[in-house]
């Protein structure tokens, strides 16, 4: 049961896409929004408490807990792609997926003329390709 949650968070900490798969705790949307903004602010503070030079350090990029692993990928535009998986999924795999997710976002959200930037992603094509991308890494998706 590898990857079980994926978030896309915009520059100001708002959740614009979320997917919860089997194995995830089921959170209502409000709770997901709160988690996303908490994560965003944790990232900000992690820069402030840095013991070393913070130039070109974006803050927290990965987090390990006893039973899961979180990986965050933030391209220069400031948007954040977050994947949460069980610990046996390696960092490289997660990062690879997030980079491909970034491509999907560019293709099927940003290139869609009716998508408004920084707003929740409600694009059918994005959903379809997202599921195609995730399929090898997830257990049955939660409806």
């Amino acid at each position: 049961m590898p990857i079980y949650t994926v978030f896309i968070i915009n520059r100001s900490g708002g959740l614009i896409y979320s997917a919860q798969f089997q194995g995830s705790q089921v959170h209502p949307l409000n709770e997901c929004l709160r988690l996303a903004s908490t994560l965003h602010s944790v990232q900000q503070i992690s820069r402030q408490v840095s013991p070393v030079d913070i130039l070109d350090d974006i803050g927290l990029t990965s987090l390990e807990a006893k039973t899961f692993r979180l990986r965050l990928y933030q391209p220069l535009t400031g948007i954040q792609f977050v994947a949460i998986a069980t610990p046996e999924v390696t960092d490289e795999i997660l990062l690879g997926i997030l980079r491909r997710l970034h491509l999907l976002y560019a293709d099927y959200a940003l290139k869609n003329p009716f998508y408004v930037q920084d707003m929740p992603i409600r694009c059918k094509l994005f959903d379809i390709h997202f599921m195609k991308l995730m399929k090898p890494y997830i257990a049955n998706p939660v409806e």
């Binding site: 079980y4 995830s24 840095s50 013991p51 987090l63 006893k66 039973t67 960092d91 490289e92 795999i93």
Partner: protein, 176 residues
Amino acid sequence: MQVYNFYLFSRHGTCLYYREWQRTRPGSDTQQEQQNLIGLLFAVKQLCRSLAPANDDSLPIDTATRYMPRGPSNFCSYSTEKYQLHCFESSTGLRFVLTTSPTASDLTRILQRVYREAYVECAIRNPLYTLGTSIVSESFRKRLDSVIRTLAVESTVFRPASEKALRGNGSPATKS
């Protein structure tokens, strides 16, 4: 591997002990920094409880909805591009925090040793130490240093592996 600094926070979030080694960026306001850090740890604790997989049987059972989850945090470490922060929380709510250069290894064991060999020996067992006050004991510092020193020795032994893992993280794995 470089070791930057160490914090020990009490269950009420006050900093009981602070020590730095190879820290390069001087903290501007120590107190503010400690407050930021403890705030971060509390936020991370809630976050990690919510993000843990369903039916995680290593977590305490919460009978009622509460603001802070019960029991020690399941958080182990986070890393940025420049540093890694490791945290171990005891069941009594003490938080042992160590920052190092980003490595791939889990330092919970080291922090547990600090708990056992420094905190218990030099604070808990010292009848003149009042619980929850900052630790000024010289022997605490010595024991802390000796535990951290073993870490430095271990890391030279394991360096090749961890450096390789590090390079793996940075390499672009984009294939679409």
